[in-house]
């Protein structure tokens, strides 16, 4: 019997309107840009100033060398200026890095917050259909990729492009011919850079896949350990492992080759440019006007040439970052486009519920997760206030589905499900806890303390209410013995299987709900603990409407009514 919240591969076929357009990736990013307008302007200024500052030291050096060529003394002024410009460039550069990182973080935070808001609006079917790990990966990895699109991608690329342009401009002002030469060479070197980067990333990708295969063999081996040992197949397994290991080894060798060769090629190219420049500078006649330069300029240009390659390499990586972020962005956008559930309006209040109505009424309900495949067909029954009923029926008859309808997670295709006369799917989430106490086959632990398991972080539930719930299920002495009592960090090993169920009951009754919904709650318990749970349940059921799914429960609750589904 599947539990109510257990993942369920069936698709929710109900049509959902996508009426909330404010949640979209574009809007999240635009919000940040609007909020941070001043900061982003500041960032622009810092980038510009940093680029300029980095161009100045070679100019000072040019001055000094030219003075020395003329055998003039060098004053403290230029020497200090050289150092100060270097220092300034360094400071601005790191300021730029921090500011860019902050921008990326702002965007990350906003997008994650909006993704969270989107979670609230998703229909229950989404959570049963999609693997939680996939959604978490969207929140974590894809958003990280998105933020790197901005910080390691667009923004740094702008800064690096500015650097390349700055250096080219400076070289043009020193030597027109060399400038033209570099204009031709730069794109070639950039193409080479991209070629190497692509090859390298491809090899790295192959390696990652192979390593994943290699690592995958470990849990497989753990699973098959008894077979391996009893058939004496250790060597065979080692050979299998080696095969995958070899694939990974070879692809890594390939990546390493590109990695090793690239940087030396770039350094050699840069040296070649310097060598050609020096030779051209010695040419006389008409060439002079194109390539001629002073000794100081030659020193300065040598310094500039070495500055052009780092940003060029960075730009290549930044393109790569942008490209790899695209897939993540598409996934985020698809998530934002997920159809929404019909959010109940919060107008319905508990006190306004008519008192004379039955606690639960199903009126000719037809429902299926897929349109063609109905689970419930024209199902009607009624539960009076304070009544105890048990839903019985074979596996797949739709008992748990009825709970889902009662909890308003799904809406019936035909007919109505009403709670105290109000349509179940119109009751807002905030009110549910005062209406329903829901216990499943096993406790679904939340990450937090022992107390958080009961309150589920609901701030409106007081410490007194928690203590009362714990006493009611008889767990007070067990929890008092824990090292930090209620504040003990959650660890499933702290409790036995039966105590976990008692906690689940405490969680359900903490807000004093009117209806208890029990879904096969003793299915996983042995008979000793079962009686403990039944006793707690008896106390918890007082003055409440109780609807349960369980054969065993019915046998021990002879006073209750049996409804066959």
């Amino acid at each position: 019997m599947p539990g109510l919240l257990k993942p369920n591969k069936r698709k929710q076929a109900m049509t959902m309107k996508n009426n909330n357009t404010s949640l979209a990736l574009k809007n999240s990013v635009l919000t940040v840009i609007a909020q941070q307008r001043l900061f982003l302007t500041g960032l622009g200024i810092v980038i510009l100033a940093g680029t300029l500052a980095a161009l100045l030291p070679p100019l000072v050096l040019e001055q000094i060398v030219n003075q020395l060529t003329l055998r003039q003394a060098v004053g403290v002024g230029p020497a200090l200026a050289y150092f100060l410009f270097l220092a300034l460039a360094g400071i601005l550069e790191s300021l730029q890095t921090v500011m860019i990182a902050r921008t990326g973080q702002k965007i990350t935070r906003q997008v994650r917050q909006d993704l969270c808001a989107k979670l609230d609006t998703l229909p229950a079917a989404y959570f049963t259909r999609e693997d939680a790990g996939k959604t978490v990966s969207l929140f974590v990895n894809d958003v990280d990729a998105l933020s790197s699109l901005f910080d390691n991608g667009v923004l740094n690329m702008a800064a690096d492009s500015l650097k390349v342009i700055g250096v080219l401009v400076m070289i043009f002002t020193r030597s027109l011919g060399l400038g033209f030469l570099l204009i031709v060479i730069t794109p070639l070197l950039f193409a080479l850079t991209r070629h190497f980067q692509k090859r390298m990333l491809q090899a790295q990708k192959t390696n990652r896949a192979a390593i994943a295969q290699v690592n995958h063999l470990v849990p497989e081996t753990l699973n098959c350990l008894r077979m391996i040992r009893s058939l004496n197949k250790q060597e065979r397994m080692e050979d299998r492992y080696d095969q995958h290991l070899q694939t990974s080894y070879q692809s890594l060798e390939k990546a390493n080759f590109y990695d090793s060769v690239y940087s030396p090629i770039i350094v050699f190219s840069s040296s070649a440019v310097v060598a050609v420049m020096m030779i051209l500078a010695t040419l006389s006649g008409g060439w002079r006007s194109l390539f001629g330069m002073s000794v100081g300029s030659a020193v300065a240009v040598t310094a500039y040439v070495s500055k052009i390659f780092t940003p060029l390499e960075n730009i290549g990586m930044e393109i790569e970052n942008i490209q790899s972020a695209v897939a993540g962005i598409q996934r985020i956008e698809a998530f934002f486009r997920q159809p929404q559930r019909n959010l109940p309006e919060a107008t319905l209040t508990l006190s306004a519920l008519p008192t004379g109505e039955p606690a639960l009424a199903l009126n000719h309900v037809t429902f299926g997760y897929e349109k063609e495949e109905t689970v419930l067909h024209d199902c009607s029954f009624c539960v009076r206030q304070g009544e105890t009923v048990t839903l019985a029926g074979r596996t797949g008859a739709g008992k748990s589905t009825i709970f889902k309808l009662i909890l308003g997670l799904y809406s019936p295709q035909q007919g109505s499900v009403t709670i105290f006369g109000a349509p179940a799917d119109q009751i807002s989430d905030r009110q549910k806890r005062r209406l329903f106490g829901y216990v499943e086959q096993t406790l679904r632990p939340a990450s937090g303390t022992v107390g958080d398991q009961i309150s589920l972080f609901d701030e409106t539930i007081t410490a007194d209410q928690i203590a009362h719930a714990v006493r009611l299920v008889g767990l007070d002495s067990v929890i008092a013995q824990l090292p930090q009592g209620m504040a003990t960090p959650w660890d499933p090993a702290l409790f036995s299987q039966g105590q976990l169920q008692l906690l689940a009951i405490a969680r359900a009754v903490a807000a004093d709900p009117r209806i208890l919904l029990l879904d096969e709650i003793t299915a996983n318990l042995d008979s000793g603990t079962e009686s403990l749970v039944m006793e707690a349940l008896r106390r918890a059921s007082a003055n409440r409407t109780v609807i349960s799914i369980s054969h065993r429960l019915y046998q021990q609750n002879r006073n209750g009514r049996l409804i066959s589904i």
């Binding site: 973080q105 978490v136 040992r229 009893s230 549910k432």
Partner: protein, 585 residues
């Protein structure tokens, strides 16, 4: 080949891995020294080129001189960069080799583990962790090797060159470099602290995100979704703050070190200029000036990175300490069995067993089984019937005697036992590979007869790829019944004196079970089959039934057991009734 070399040396010592790679490391040392010493050639020749340009402009030299010098310059750079290329590749090959060796040793440690021990002390998860640590460790060793040259050797080379140009100026200008290194060491603490604060807040955020998503419906039913979103929002704010602080510490400090180390450049420019003009501590030409300046700048940059060397050592050490305990030498068991004669025989005498810190599971069990018998073993839940089966695998220590063909199980190693006992547990333990490989496991076996015996023949033939069908992780592309029968085929393909089959038919339908059991009877004529099950449908056909309850064992033929053991009789009858009910449906 590598398997052997690892066997002889000590895989739990770091030196083993360096020793294995001694040829690569020798190459790295050679090219590393050549490259790093040659690094000074760049600034030197660039200075000479400048000097030559000055001479040409002054009309003292011709353009041909410049071409010659440029050619020499490029040749030297080519050699130096070639050495660099080799060094880089060598260092990476070293890391790659080491990671591969470590993975092999770890895997060997894993594959020779006793499954009973492994499940008991969570060694499995430790092992899984260790394997993911291998990359970090190899990367640490690579960085360490790299930094030894790129920071250590290169700094010495630069310093030597600077001192050769002007000793006094070098001492003066380099006063600031140790200052920068000192500051870097001092500020390491807040940097690592802010970085770990950031990492912790991120991992907490990820935990919260996982909790939020996986418990989404629980929170919805309890009306707590908004409150969880708020908590997550608060954590997001903490993460953002920590990220910016950590980035500020990390990025703001590096240029600061650079600036401090570079402060000496003011002296270099002033005194250097005086040197050129002939009024300084040394007599320089313009080339010396530019060379010195370039070398000094690079040295300053390197010295501010010196902390990297220490960090790399630190990181490698930490990851090594994590994996070292898992890198134990493994003794490969010798599978030769002492010779035995006669037909198969299984003999238990006064056998007792208890899990550690628990009351005995069973005590003083004695019985004897002969060739050709099929024994059904059953009893209530948790009576120890599966454990009894596993005792025959030699996984667990026992008291008393347990002999197959006169050989005491406790005195045999796993390889020897594998010749005596064929075992199939309730988990089919299939590999993510083809059907063929799952049966053959590298042996030259014909799969067809075994598939026929387990009634799989037609089903496999119907698959588009037949024997070459990939069955997926843990065999998930097959049905539960197919998985069980494939695992059975794998066991039956290896004739052993004793077969222990623990609940092999739980996922197999009754008709197929009948067919397989008939085949088993035929096959079991010259061996002993122990069939452990809680489904008693076929127990009536077996030679003996062993009933385990409350730590004691009773063995009898099925009819006697039925007559004299009310608990057994009740179980049989309930199952017959249930089967009847099922038939009605």
């Amino acid at each position: 080949m590598i398997r052997k070399s690892n066997r002889e040396r000590r895989p739990d010592r770091l030196s083993t891995y360096f020793y294995q790679e001694r040829h690569v490391l020798a190459g790295i040392t050679l090219t590393g020294i050549l490259y790093n010493a040659g690094l000074t050639a760049g600034p030197y020749f660039e200075g000479q080129l400048t000097l030559c340009l000055m001479a040409v402009l002054a009309g003292e030299k011709s353009g041909i001189d410049m071409i010659k010098l440029a050619a020499v310059y490029l040749t030297v750079i080519l050699i130096v960069q070639g050495a660099r290329c080799l060094k880089r590749f060598g260092v990476r090959r070293f890391a790659n080799d080491t990671a591969r060796s470590m993975r092999r040793v770890l895997y060997r440690n894993l594959v020779y583990q006793n499954p009973a021990v492994l499940s008991a002390d969570e060694a499995g998860s430790l092992m899984t962790k260790a394997i993911s640590d291998v990359d970090a460790c190899a990367e640490g060793m690579r960085k360490f090797t790299t930094e030894v040259f790129d920071t250590g050797v290169v700094m010495i080379a630069y310093l030597g060159m600077l001192m050769a140009y002007d000793l006094r100026l070098t001492l003066l200008a380099c006063v600031f470099a140790p200052l920068a290194a000192l500051l870097a060491q001092k500020l390491k603490h807040p940097i690592t602290r802010s970085a770990s604060a950031y990492k912790n807040s991120v991992s907490q955020l990820n935990t919260m995100t996982l909790d939020r998503v996986s418990n989404a419906l629980t929170y919805r039913v309890f009306g707590c979704e908004n409150q969880r979103d708020q908590a997550l929002g608060d954590q997001l704010a903490v993460v953002e703050k920590n990220a910016v602080v950590s980035s500020a510490w990390e990025n703001a400090m590096q240029p600061l070190y650079n600036i401090i180390a570079m402060a000496g450049v003011v002296f270099v420019l002033l005194r250097g200029a005086q040197n050129v003009l002939g009024v300084g501590w040394a007599a320089w030409d313009l080339a010396a000036f530019t060379t010195y300046l370039a070398c000094f700048s690079r040295l300053a940059l390197k010295s501010s990175h010196a902390a990297k060397l220490f960090n790399a050592v630190q990181k490698a050490k930490v990851s090594w300490q994590r994996i070292q305990p898992q890198l134990q030498p493994v003794e490969i068991p010798d599978s030769t069995l002492p010779p035995t004669a006669g037909p198969a025989e299984l003999k238990l005498e006064d056998l007792s067993f208890a899990y550690p810190h628990q009351p005995p599971l069973f005590e003083h069990v004695s019985f004897q089984v002969h060739t050709g018998q099929i024994i059904g073993i059953t009893g209530p839940l948790a009576c120890g019937k599966s454990t009894l089966g596993r005792l025959l695998l030699g996984e667990l220590p026992y008291a008393g005697s347990l002999r197959i063909n006169g050989l005491e199980i406790a005195q045999l190693n796993s390889a020897q036992i594998s010749h005596l006992v064929g075992y199939l547990g309730h988990a089919p333990q299939l590999l993510s590979d083809t059907i063929e490989e799952n049966i053959q496991l590298g042996e030259d076996l014909d799969c067809a007869p075994w598939l026929k015996l387990t009634a799989l023949e037609e089903e496999v033939a119907a698959m588009p790829e037949g024997l070459k069908t990939q069955i997926g992780a843990q065999g998930t592309r097959l049905s539960g019944g197919q998985q069980a029968r494939l695992a059975l085929a794998r066991t039956l393909a290896r004739p052993r004196p004793v077969w222990v089959l623990d609940d092999p038919f739980s996922a197999v339908d009754p008709a197929t079970e009948d067919e397989i059991l008939r085949n088993l009877r035929e096959l079991g004529k010259d061996r002993i089959i122990l069939l452990i099950s809680h489904r008693l449908t076929h127990f009536a056909q077996f030679d003996q039934v062993l009933w385990l309850e409350n730590g004691t064992a009773r063995i009898a033929d099925p009819a006697t057991m039925m007559a004299e053991n009310p608990a057994y009789a009740r179980l049989v009858k309930t199952q017959q009734k249930k089967a009847g009910d099922d038939d009605e449906k």
